[in-house]
């Protein structure tokens, strides 16, 4: 195994690992009276503390089933209609949601399509939002031009962050597996199905089993050619697609605290801009890490909140929040220590996110296209990274290179944000010079295939390098298409050669 010396597993099983999948639902227990004398402080992990507070308990241990209050419930166009159907069926046609300000409805999956059912599903969201006076509904009515829709955001997980719905210490549920992205803000965030969401819609709470935590300590100086995507692919390759099943993944360490890759220009005038860019980079890197916790089977991913988090949130939310942190004596199922300075760019080969291989070992793999987009790899800093590499190389791409900004805001950044590290050119200019496709309408687009007319869908058995999150058979459309999951640097480098490539060849 290639990186055994850099990736030491501290196999100290400190609590008995439960392998029995037992109750997910149980009648509520009687509240126990708190101890009256000599209460010893019970050390808890970050996740345990959040769930304790949300379930109004002073202490929790992994394996306990508890009723948890939701701070935010998110749904989108694919699962929203089903959730609404269940809500109405179970609580009544005239029932009201538990809190019209805690539900965020974000159409994002199948938007720019002629598929009638897909379009109808957005109408269902609109009707419900009107009926319930849902405060946060990011509507789209004019599909021919996303810019004509001022409320429309795009990919839900990026929109949640940009709109200030992610806050430290809170509990966020979403009808989408990548809801775990929000853990980057030091909160508990996980994906649920329609029925659970329908239940929360009516009651504001759900029964959860408290997960034990796997701790990933990412230390060392981040090499200039590595991105957060390389780190999470490294981890998933290490523990497999079921390595974190029923567990929380906590990401800490100096590399996480300072996830900055941009090299700073000496121009003073740009320092202020760069500082705010730096926070954006760090938060988006943390989002990339937590986003793929689900690919390891994780219940949630989490990064402790800090000044970077607070800076990012300034001006985005008016709500007060209270961060929590793992106690020094908390029990973790296992701790993994990773020296990031020793890692190399990696890809996940078809057809599983844990089929990790060094990018440089795949140089003979001819590719047909490159896709840069999704909640995982379609954020502003993902595009900045790709643009930086393309600009440095000064060459044209050899294969069709599809760019799908996650949200309207990301799209605007591509066109409006000058990059000091690229002589003030914008990402859009660089992409055009390199011969990439024009950045498309923000949505989930081809990450998960979708209706047949979805932009960049793989309708033939081709080979794609993608900044997305899954590469199971048929993920982007055709069952025999091959998807190599990669960082934006790796994707850009591969676009330039027409083969899976190591970005160090260009950086």
């Amino acid at each position: 195994m290639l990186h055994s010396s850099y990736f030491s597993v501290n196999a100290r099983p400190m609590s008995r690992r439960s392998s029995t999948i037992s109750a997910v639902m149980a009648p509520p227990q009687q509240q126990r009276a708190p101890a009256s004398t000599g209460a010893v402080k019970h050390a808890m992990t970050l996740t345990e503390k959040i769930l304790a507070r949300a379930s109004e308990k002073t202490k929790l241990v992994p394996g306990e089933n508890v009723w948890v209050n939701a701070d935010v419930l998110m749904t989108h166009d694919v699962c929203g209609p089903g959730t609404i159907g269940i809500f109405k069926k179970e609580f009544g046609a005239n029932a009201k949601v538990w809190d019209r300000e805690k539900i965020v409805i974000i159409p994002d999956h199948y938007i720019f399509t002629a598929d009638e059912r897909a379009n109808r599903n957005v109408d269902i969201l609109r009707d419900f939002s009107k009926e319930q006076s849902i405060k946060y509904f990011y509507d789209i009515t004019d599909r021919s031009d996303f810019r004509a829709n001022p409320d429309y955001k795009g990919v839900c997980h990026v929109a949640l962050a940009q709109e200030g719905h992610c806050r430290p210490g809170e509990v966020l549920f979403g009808t989408d597996s990548h809801t775990c992205t929000a853990g980057a803000f030091g909160q508990f965030a996980t994906g649920i199905g329609n029925t659970d969401a329908g239940f929360i819609m009516g009651t504001g709470k759900i029964l959860l089993k408290v997960p034990g935590t796997l701790r990933f300590v990412l230390d060392g100086e981040m090499p200039s050619y590595l991105l957060a995507k390389d780190l999470i692919l490294q981890i998933i390759g290490e523990i497999t697609v079921s390595g974190a099943t029923y567990k929380s993944m906590e990401f800490v360490g100096t590399a996480v605290e300072r996830m900055t890759v941009s090299s700073f220009s000496p121009y003073l005038i740009e320092i202020v801009h760069l500082i705010s860019r730096s926070e954006l980079t760090q938060m988006e890197d943390r989002m990339t890490l937590c986003n793929m916790a689900i690919e390891a089977g994780g219940k949630n991913g989490v990064v402790p909140a800090d000044e970077v988090t607070y800076s990012y949130l300034k001006g985005k939310t008016e709500k007060e929040f209270e961060s929590v942190y793992s106690d020094a004596g908390a029990t973790f199922i296992q701790e993994y220590r990773i020296d990031v300075s020793k890692l190399e760019p990696v890809v996940a080969k078809p057809h599983s996110p844990d089929k990790r291989v060094l990018a440089r070992d795949c140089k003979d793999v001819k590719i047909d296209r490159v896709y840069i987009g999704s909640c995982t790899g379609g954020k502003t800093e993902d595009f900045v990274a790709a643009a930086k590499l393309l600009n440095k190389a000064g060459q044209k791409v050899k294969v069709p290179t599809f760019l799908v900004p996650a949200t309207q805001k990301v799209w605007v950044d591509l066109y409006a944000m000058p990059l000091p590290e690229a002589d003030g050119k914008t990402c859009a200019q660089i992409f055009e010079e390199a011969g990439c496709d024009t950045p498309a309408s923000p949505s989930c687009a081809a990450c998960l295939g979708g209706p047949k007319d979805t932009y960049a869908r793989m309708n033939e058995p081709k080979v794609c390098v993608s900044t997305t999150n899954r590469n199971f058979p048929g993920r982007m459309g055709h069952k025999e298409a091959q998807i190599y999951l990669a960082s934006p640097y790796t994707a850009a480098a591969s676009a330039l050669t027409g083969f899976v490539s190591d970005c160090r060849d260009f950086l």
Partner: protein, 187 residues
């Protein structure tokens, strides 16, 4: 929206898959425009169950049909990994599957199976996906916690479903919550 609530002893023909069968294989994303809570779309979802599987597993559903001849799925580890889409257990239940016996499950899929009551997600520690074949006559007995392959004559122990079983039997989390008085009956 569970149809017939499955009983605790289920006999029928089995369909066999292996490890890491993800939700895109169970129900490809292009069919997610179907809303499971609408009865006609629920049936259509059933017709597309397992449509994403590579062909080497064999034919799960005859073309043009919406119910499969199989009532049991035998699987390896991490069944149902990937997306949180509830359409996955719903499609299986709508297609006629009553129980899956797998080495292990992804958590959201397991949770959705219990919440909807669509099918029983049972675990078996033995690697039965190596020993069962499509079309074998099988009984899954959740009273005795065994799975029997009548075609080979062998029996294997199942892990008890525990508290999840009554929830599925009741028809899912809402039905169960009403039965136990957690929430009032629907208006």
């Amino acid at each position: 929206m569970a149809g017939d609530t499955p009983s605790r002893q289920i006999s029928g023909k089995c369909f066999v898959v292996r490890d890491n069968i993800d939700t895109d294989q169970i129900i490809p994303a292009e069919y997610l425009t179907l809303v499971p809570s609408k009865p006609d779309e629920y049936e259509k979802l059933g017709s597309y169950a397992m449509a994403g599987l590579p062909p080497h597993y064999g034919q799960f559903m005859e073309p043009g049909k919406s119910k499969t001849k199989y009532s049991i799925i035998i699987a390896g580890s991490n069944f149902g990994c990937g997306s949180s889409r509830e359409h996955a257990p719903v499609a299986l239940g709508a297609s006629g599957i009553q129980v899956v016996v797998a080495e292990s499950y992804a958590r959201i899929f397991f949770r959705n199976s219990v919440a909807t009551g669509e099918m029983y997600p049972v675990e078996c520690e033995a690697r039965i996906c190596d020993e069962f074949h499509n079309g074998d006559d099988v009984t899954v007995d959740m009273e005795r916690d065994v799975v029997v392959n009548h075609s080979t004559g062998k029996e294997y122990a199942l892990k008890p479903l525990g508290d999840a079983a009554p929830v599925i039997e009741a028809g899912g989390i809402f039905a169960y919550a009403r039965q136990t008085g957690m929430i009032p009956s629907a208006a």
